[in-house]
């Protein structure tokens, strides 16, 4: 071999194609009912020696058997490509967007995503499933499953069940798959404490030591305050209006707020503290305050970037887990 270097960490991964071994088939309640009817007709046919009643009974039985294959086929060969979910706050429902790959198959009808296995036999079905949906042949589609996210941290996508009763509702076929996906669950933003006082930024701000120019977004003008850097003064405006104003750039935050667990010591437990911090982070974001955070050994510089907010929330979500 010329190329002895294999791509790193290419581990065999479960192929999510739903094949023969992975598909379970059982009659539905209606299917059992149908089978009983079929048997009753057969008994009647025997009693009355009625050839056509025999024929009806056998035809119904044959339809039942064919329905097994048809229902099976409706699911076989479908692949689950995985799932993904946007972060949610604890107490909300995580929306796992499952991607189903039907590129190899024909049109599939009336699929349902369930979070628990369907009950075979005569028991009633639990009501926690998506509405049935159809999939075009050769298509890739997404279907959403809502999973309750009770507590912060990482919510692993539960084992899902895809089920179909097409075409007759006599038979249900289902298969399990466990998409390798999890959903980041931020702490529920809770707590009554008001946002701590923010600090006005010092002139020693920019860690980079570079003047914000070029690609930094111009944010607005604000009256000059003692301590504002001279290079931020809008000289042209001064020349026109005789007013000392400074340009504000989104990067160059003036208001900075440092949050830490110290500030929420009063709260009873860690979860409540993290919830309070999460709420502050959101509140600060609404007010345009750059938030930094000290969380254990982690230190996050204040920033305005909306992605920064997610970084903070994520840190809160994963703290000490």
């Amino acid at each position: 071999m010329n190329h002895t270097l294999a791509p790193s960490s290419v581990l065999p991964r479960a192929d999510h194609a739903l094949d023969r071994r992975h598909i379970y088939v059982l009659p539905t309640r209606g299917g059992f009912f149908f089978a009983v009817v079929c048997l009753l007709v057969l008994l009647g046919a025997m009693n009355y020696n009625n050839a056509m009643a025999y024929a009806v009974s056998f035809l119904l039985g044959a339809i039942f058997v064919i329905a097994i294959g048809e229902t099976w086929r409706n699911l076989a060969g479908l692949r689950c490509l995985g799932a993904a979910a946007d972060p949610v706050f604890a107490g909300q429902k995580a929306r796992f967007r499952v991607t189903l790959d039907n590129r190899a198959g024909r049109e599939r009808m009336q699929l349902e995503l369930l979070m628990s296995p369907p009950r075979g036999g005569l028991r009633r079905q639990p009501r926690q499933h998506t509405q049935p949906f159809d999939v075009d042949g050769g298509a890739i589609i997404h279907a959403d499953v809502m999973v309750p996210a009770p507590s912060r941290g990482r919510l692993t996508c539960p084992r899902l069940c895809i089920r179909t009763r097409f075409p007759l509702g006599l038979i249900q076929a289902w298969a399990y798959f466990s998409p390798v996906a999890d959903c980041l669950v931020y702490p529920a933003p809770k707590g009554d404490s008001t946002l701590p006082e923010s600090m006005q930024s010092a002139s020693t701000t920019a860690q980079s030591g570079v003047v914000q120019t070029g690609n930094n977004d111009f944010f607005g003008l604000r009256g000059y305050q003692r301590g504002d850097p001279l290079r931020a003064v809008a000289w042209k405006t001064l020349a026109r209006n005789d007013q000392m104003v400074v340009k504000r750039f989104t990067d160059a935050a003036d208001e900075r707020l440092w949050l830490s667990l110290e500030q929420v010591r009063a709260l009873p437990d860690l979860e409540a503290r993290l919830s309070q911090l999460a709420r502050w982070v959101l509140e600060a974001g609404r007010h345009g305050i750059a938030v930094g955070m000290l969380l254990g050994a982690q230190r996050f510089q204040p920033d305005h970037d909306p992605r920064h907010q997610q970084v903070l929330l994520r840190a809160l979500a994963e703290f000490k887990l």
Binding site: N47, G61, I63, G69, Q110, P132, L168
Partner: protein, 674 residues
């Protein structure tokens, strides 16, 4: 293949059945009820339609439904159910249980329509529909009805498909196509089950509630005109398949009830109660045949004179009438062997007495004539018979389907005044004459001749072939058949009645033209042949017939449990085939190169080296070589050919063939553990 992923088209509405589903099931149920609507009171049909309309109007929001929001209507519904049940009980009280049952089912289906809300309700309605289909077959099992019911079953199944039709639920074409797909697959399976499913002779419980209605056919009484009425009917009495020779028309006497007793007008069976079977000597060549008799609701069976070998569940009476143990309530087939020539040696005193019975003071003129003949014959009975027949022949007797009404002494009036009659007139008056002359005689009713259907090569015997003839006792020769009708109208016996009558059915314009008449006849014959086969092989597929088929298939006398096993195995095999085809279809490979490579991978997987789906052929070959040095060379060779064909330019038919040979030769084995 570049279709972008899209969010599943998830319906926002609830998953409950809607109007479109209702229309499907309504259509299917209406079809199932259609044949019944001709049998039942229009009121029943009207109430079904009214209930259906109510449900439909509720979908349209014109009328409320009896549900929890409308408690008063709920009460109305309860009242309706009670009323309907009472009405059915009252109107069908004392009548056959079948009619009452079916009427009740119809009412229930109508009321179920009102309750259609959930998927489950629809399911129940569909199931009731299947039951309705079966009830139709309690009345008739003809081919047209069976075909129509197949359509009904398709519609009922289609209404289930519509329920799960998703975005196609408003496309009837799509729904029907999917349904056909299922039905077409199901039919062969059903046929297999029909043939091989072990049949049990019913009934399992109780008596079948079958029609008690009078059937046309011969009875055990005969009055002038009773048989000639029958000749107006072209209903089929029975069909006969001959195994070998077919007897000539003159020998086709199908023996039925034998009548001994006369009150001057009506002939009855009389009081012969002798359970013994007479000693019969058979001569000549026998006929072997199978009779498929239509239900007559009578015990007697018709057989060619005279059956020598009969089934267990029938017996021959003393006066040579074939009787079944039960009434013939359904179409039955039985195999018989008959000898046209036979003799019976003995006449019991009781028979002798019955054979001479005549009402006191009746038929004075006939008696006088008989005495005169007796003197002429001088004890020679055969001569007496000849004299009598020649009398019928010479005197202006006519044979007619519409004889004049006989008001006085029927025998005398017929013999000396009207001289126009039908077979029963001739037979009865002949017997009276014989008895008056002191010769034991009796009337035999049955059928004569029959129409040979060239299409199916079998004989159709209709009610219009009903006939009556006489038998006289000749000492030393036994009972001899004498057909006085033949003396008057010989063509009646040789050609059958058919020639004397216009063709059955059809328009005049068809019958007037010989060519179209022949064609029409041919069509009728074909249709009858089809029906006969249907009756014999489908409707009459009895346990015995199943055994026979098994023997013909070389399966011999198979035990029922074995048959059940075969049945189950067949279903299992079908399921297996089905699942294989599913698996095939999901990974079907058209490209021979790829399928050969897949096979190569399968063979390696069998020895525990599984190719990961995203593993390239070279990487896989290298891994195999690392794991199994002994396989390195052949694997490298095969992989080389594969990539040459698939990824380089080495695509040629020879190369492909060589590659496939390489793969087929490649048989890796697991290493033996030292």
């Amino acid at each position: 293949m570049n279709a972008p992923a899209r969010l599943a088209n998830i319906r926002t509405g609830n998953n409950h059945p809607r109007e479109v589903h209702f229309l499907w099931i309504l259509g299917a149920l209406a079809m199932a009820l259609l044949p019944h609507s001709l049998r039942f009171s229009p009121l029943l049909v009207a109430s079904f339609l009214a209930l259906a309309f109510w449900r439909w109007a509720a979908y349209r929001r014109w009328l409320p439904l009896p549900d929890k929001q409308h408690r008063r209507l709920l009460l109305t519904k309860t009242l309706l159910v009670i009323t309907a049940c009472v009405a059915v009980w009252v109107s069908y009280r004392g009548q056959s249980g079948r009619d009452a049952g079916v009427a009740l089912l119809m009412v229930l289906v109508g009321l179920k329509l009102l309750e259609l809300t959930t998927t489950r309700d629809f399911f129940i309605a569909t199931t009731l529909g299947y039951f309705l289909v079966v009830t139709n077959f309690l009345y008739s099992q003809t081919i047209p009805l069976a075909a129509f019911m197949l359509a009904v079953i398709t519609m009922l199944t289609a209404s289930m498909v519509a329920l799960y039709g998703g975005r196609h639920e408003r496309e009837p074409k799509w729904i029907l196509r999917r349904t056909f797909f299922i039905i077409v697959q199901a039919i062969p399976l059903a046929v297999l089950a029909f043939v091989f499913f072990p049949r049990i002779e019913g009934p399992l419980w109780g008596r079948p509630m079958l029609s008690e209605e009078a059937q046309t056919g011969l009875s055990d009484e005969m009055t002038p005109g009773s048989i000639s009425n029958l000749t107006l009917s072209d209903e089929i009495a029975f069909r006969v398949n001959f195994n070998g020779r077919i007897p000539p028309a003159a020998e086709r006497y199908w023996r039925g009830p034998v009548l001994w007793h006369t009150d001057g007008r009506t002939w009855r069976r009389g009081s012969l109660r002798d359970p013994t079977t007479p000693q019969v000597r058979f001569q000549g060549e026998p006929y072997r045949y199978t009779i498929t008799q239509e239900p007559s609701n009578k015990r007697w069976l018709y057989a060619l004179e005279l059956p020598a070998q009969i089934d267990d569940d029938m017996y021959l009476t003393r006066d040579l009438q074939l009787l079944g143990r039960y009434r013939m309530r359904r179409r039955t087939s039985f195999d018989l062997i008959s000898y046209p020539r036979f003799t019976i040696a003995e006449l019991t005193p009781a028979e002798h007495q019955l054979g001479l019975q005549l009402p006191e003071d009746a038929h004075p003129r006939a008696r006088a004539l008989a005495m005169q003949w007796q003197a002429q014959a001088g004890g020679d009975i055969e001569r007496l018979v000849r004299i009598a027949l020649s009398h019928f022949n010479r005197q202006p007797f006519t044979y007619t389907l519409a004889p004049p009404l006989l008001t006085e002494d029927p025998v005398d009036q017929f013999l000396f005044e009207t001289r126009a009659g039908f077979c029963e007139h001739y037979a009865s008056s002949f017997v009276v004459l014989m008895r008056a002359a002191g010769v034991p005689a009796r009337v035999v009713t049955g059928y004569q001749d029959g129409e040979l259907n060239p299409v199916g090569d079998y004989l159709i015997v209709r009610q219009q072939d009903a006939h009556a003839w006489a038998e006289v006792w000749i000492e030393g020769r036994g009972w001899r058949r004498v057909d006085p009708t033949a003396a008057v109208a010989p063509e009646r016996v040789s050609d059958g009645l058919e020639m004397m009558m216009p063709a059955r059915g059809g328009l005049r314009i068809i019958n007037d033209n010989p060519a179209t008449a022949a064609l029409w006849r041919r069509i009728q014959q074909t249709w009858d042949a089809t029906n006969h086969r249907w009756n014999q092989w489908v409707l009459g597929f009895s346990p015995a017939r199943q055994q026979m088929l098994m023997r013909e298939l070389g399966l011999g006398d198979i035990d029922r449990s074995v048959l059940a096993g075969v049945m189950m195995a067949a279903i299992g095999a079908t399921l297996l085939l089905l699942s294989l085809s599913i698996q095939r279809s999901s990974v079907r490979e058209r490209d021979p190169v790829r399928s050969a490579y897949r096979e190569f991978c399968r063979r390696l997987a069998r020895i525990g080296i599984q190719r990961v789906p995203h593993e390239g052929p070279l990487d896989f070959a290298a891994r195999v070589a690392r794991l199994r040095e002994d396989l390195a060379a052949p694997v490298a060779e095969i992989t080389g050919s594969y990539i040459d064909i698939r990824y380089a330019n080495g695509n040629g038919r020879d190369a492909v063939a060589a590659f496939r040979r390489q793969v087929s030769r490649f048989r890796p084995r697991t290493l033996a553990v030292p």
